[in-house]
Symmetry: C2
Subunit: 367 residues, 2 copies
C-alpha cells in the first residue's frame, strides 16, 4: 500500500467513521479503522458489529493494499497534522505516515482480521431528501426507551405508507411522530425499526449540503448511502406498538403559548420538582392564563404565570422532563397544548403545523 | 427582611460567591448563601471555611434582615428568572421571591448558624493593578503541586521585594515565575503563600473592567477587595523554596520557534508518548532545525520537524505535559528554549520578554 491524500479529506472521513469504533472490546481489531484502496479511492471503515460505517475519499494510489490501525491514534495524528498532504506507506503491519513536518509509524493489525461489513446490493427501496429526514430524526429519537426490556421501543420506526413516511418513537410514557411527504408512492408499505444509535449516527453524518439519502433494505438489515459515506445496520425485529389509537381525537381544552416562555417556565418548575420525581402541574384557566406549579417537600415551591390563549379549564400533572424534552425540537415560536381530561394523554404540537405531534401521559395526582 | 433588587445584579453576585459553596459538607448551612441587608445594600456571602467570598449589590430595602438559603436552588431560580426585578420577603425561615411572572418560596436556615467570615480591618498593605495580576496568576498557578505532601507547594507565592512583586509556583519538577513592577516601594518585604484555589477564585472574580485590587494582610490571613466583592482566605504557613538558585545563568544552547508550531509539535509527540509516561525528546540541531521525537513501544513513533533559530546542539528529554502546560500562557508569538546541558534544567520564556520564565527539569534518558 502506497498512496497520498489531502489531510482535510482524511480528517473528515475519520470523523465520519470513528464514532462507531468500539472503545472497549474483547476484540482488539474493533478499536481500529480499516483503510483500504478500492477502485482508485481510499476507503475507511469502522464497525461495532451492530453498525458499520464506511467512507471513501479521493487519493493518489501508487500501490494497492489494506491495513487496520488504532482509531484513536490515527484520528489524533491526522487532526493534529497541519500539513496539506499525507503520504501512506505500508511495511508489513506498520503504516508510515509522512507529511511536510511530521513523520510517524503506527502499528496496525492485518486487514484480514477485520470483520466483514455486509453490503446490500439490491435496488434502492427509496431515496429521501436529507433536510426533512434530519429534522424528523431530531424530533423523534429522544423519545425512545432507554432500558431495553422491550427491544422495539429502543428503535425509531420508519413507517412507509403509500406516499407518506411516518417517523415515530415512544418509551410508552410519551410518543413523538413526524410525517414526511414522499416524492412518490412506495411500491410496498413497510415498517423499519432502526436502532436509535444507528439513526443518530445517520443524522450526524448527513451534512446540510447533502441532497438525498438512498435506503436499501434486506432481511434484518438496512443500508443508508449519502454521497461518500455508507451506514449499514441491523434492524430491530418485532412489531411497533399500534400507537395511532392513543392519539386523542377530541381535545376541547387548549392553550397556545410562546415556546420560549413555556420552556423557561418548565425549567423553573423543574428546579422545585427535583425532589418530587419531576412532578409538575399545569393549570389552564379561562382568563387566558397558564400556571405551572411545582412543590418540593424540602426546598420550597414555585408558581409561574404565562399569558396564553386558552379554551376551557384543566389541572393536569406531568413529568417535567417529558415536557421539556420536546420543546427544543418543536421548531416553532408558538406551541399548542391540547387536552381532553386530566387522566387522558395530552398533546403538544407546534402551532400551525400538522406534520408533528407529541403525546404525553399525565401523572395521577394524589387528590 | 423585605427588599427588592435587579435580577441582573443578583445573578452576577450569586455567580461571584457561589463557587466556594461546599457541595458536600457535613454542615448543611455551608451549602447555603448568606443574604443580609447591610448599610443600605444587600450582601451575599459564601464560605467553605478556607475561603470566604462576599459581594454587595444595590437594593431597595424596606425592612432589614438576614437568612441563608440553598445556593444551588437560589442560583438556578435567579438565573432562570427572566423578569427585571425580584422582591424578597422573609417569613420565619422561608424566603418568598416574587417577580412579574414567577413566585417561589425557598426554605432557609437561620443566619445565626452561618460561620463568621473574618474581615481584616487593618490599613491596606498594597493596591495592585488588576490586568497584570490576572495575567500573572494564569501564568503561574498551573505549576502548583497537586498532591499536598509539601503544603507550601500547593500555593502561589506573592513575594514583595521593594518595588517588585514576584509571583511564583512550583511542584519541584517545574517552576513558573512572573514579575510585576509595583506602583511604589512596599514598606516591608513579605512573602505571602496563597492557596491555589484562593488565587484562582480571585482571578475568576476580577473582571477586566476592574482597575485595582486592594490587599490586606493579617496573621495567617489575606483579604482581597475588588469594587463590590471581597475574598478572605487563610495563608499557607512555611517557607517557599529558594528557587532563584536553580534558574540557569549560562544557557549557551538555544532555539527560537513560533509558539503555535511548537505547541502543535508537542501535541503530536504527546499522542505517541501516552504509553511511555509522556517522555519526549527535543533535539536542537545546528542547521536551524528543532526535532521533537516520541517513541511508543506498542503504538509506534513520531518525529516532528520545526524550523527554528538555533545556537548549539542538544538532545534533551522532558515530560510532554510539563512543556505543553506553559505554552498557552506565554502570550507571545515566539518562544525561546534555553539549555546548558542535557541533565540541567531547561528554560522556556516568551521571546523579547524579561518578566516571565518557566524552568523545567529534564528526564534522564536510558542512553
Amino acid at each position: 500500500m502506497k498512496l497520498s491524500c489531502l489531510q482535510e479529506n482524511l480528517n473528515k472521513a475519520i470523523s465520519i467513521v470513528s464514532k462507531v469504533v468500539a472503545t472497549r472490546s474483547t476484540l482488539p481489531v474493533l478499536s481500529n479503522i480499516l483503510i483500504k484502496t478500492e477502485k482508485g479511492r481510499l476507503k475507511l471503515s469502522a464497525t461495532n458489529l451492530e453498525i458499520g460505517i464506511s467512507c471513501w475519499i479521493g487519493s493518489k494510489i501508487e500501490k494497492e493494499g489494506s491495513i487496520t490501525i488504532p482509531a484513536r491514534l490515527f484520528s489524533d495524528f491526522v487532526a493534529t497534522n497541519t500539513d496539506k498532504t499525507i503520504a501512506f506507506e505500508l511495511e508489513n503491519t506498520s503504516l508510515s505516515l509522512k507529511s511536510e513536518h511530521f513523520f510517524a509509524h503506527i502499528k496496525g493489525i492485518e486487514a484480514s482480521e477485520f470483520p466483514l461489513i455486509p453490503q446490500i446490493h439490491q435496488e434502492p427501496f427509496i431515496e429521501l431528501p436529507v433536510l426533512p429526514l434530519k429534522e424528523a430524526i431530531t424530533q423523534t429519537v429522544f423519545a425512545v426507551a432507554i432500558d431495553e426490556t422491550r427491544p422495539v421501543l429502543a428503535g425509531v420506526l420508519l413507517r412507509f405508507v403509500d406516499d407518506k413516511l411516518k417517523i415515530a418513537a415512544t418509551d410508552s410514557y410519551r410518543l413523538a411522530e413526524r410525517q414526511i411527504e414522499l416524492p412518490r408512492k412506495v411500491e410496498k408499505n413497510v415498517d423499519l425499526i432502526v436502532p436509535a444509535k444507528t439513526i443518530l449516527e445517520l443524522a450526524r453524518i448527513m451534512s446540510d449540503s447533502e441532497q438525498a439519502v438512498t435506503i436499501r433494505v434486506a432481511e434484518n438489515q438496512v443500508q443508508f448511502d449519502i454521497s461518500q459515506a455508507q451506514v449499514v445496520s441491523r434492524l430491530i425485529e418485532g412489531s411497533f406498538p399500534q400507537y395511532e389509537q392513543i392519539i386523542p381525537s377530541q381535545t376541547p381544552i387548549s392553550a397556545t403559548v410562546p415556546t420560549a416562555d413555556f420552556q423557561n417556565a418548565i425549567k423553573m418548575a423543574s428546579l422545585f420538582a427535583r425532589e418530587s420525581a419531576d412532578n409538575i402541574k399545569l393549570k389552564i384557566k379561562k382568563d387566558n392564563n397558564l400556571e405551572i406549579v411545582a412543590i418540593s417537600p424540602q426546598a420550597g415551591d414555585s408558581v409561574s404565570n404565562l399569558s396564553a390563549q386558552t379554551t376551557g379549564e384543566i389541572e393536569i400533572a406531568f413529568n417535567a422532563k417529558y415536557l421539556s424534552d420536546v420543546l427544543p425540537v418543536l421548531g416553532a415560536e408558538k406551541l399548542e397544548l391540547l387536552f381532553s381530561g386530566p387522566l387522558s394523554p395530552g398533546l403538544v404540537r407546534p402551532k400551525n403545523s400538522k406534520d408533528y405531534l407529541y403525546i404525553i401521559m399525565p401523572l395521577k395526582t394524589e387528590e
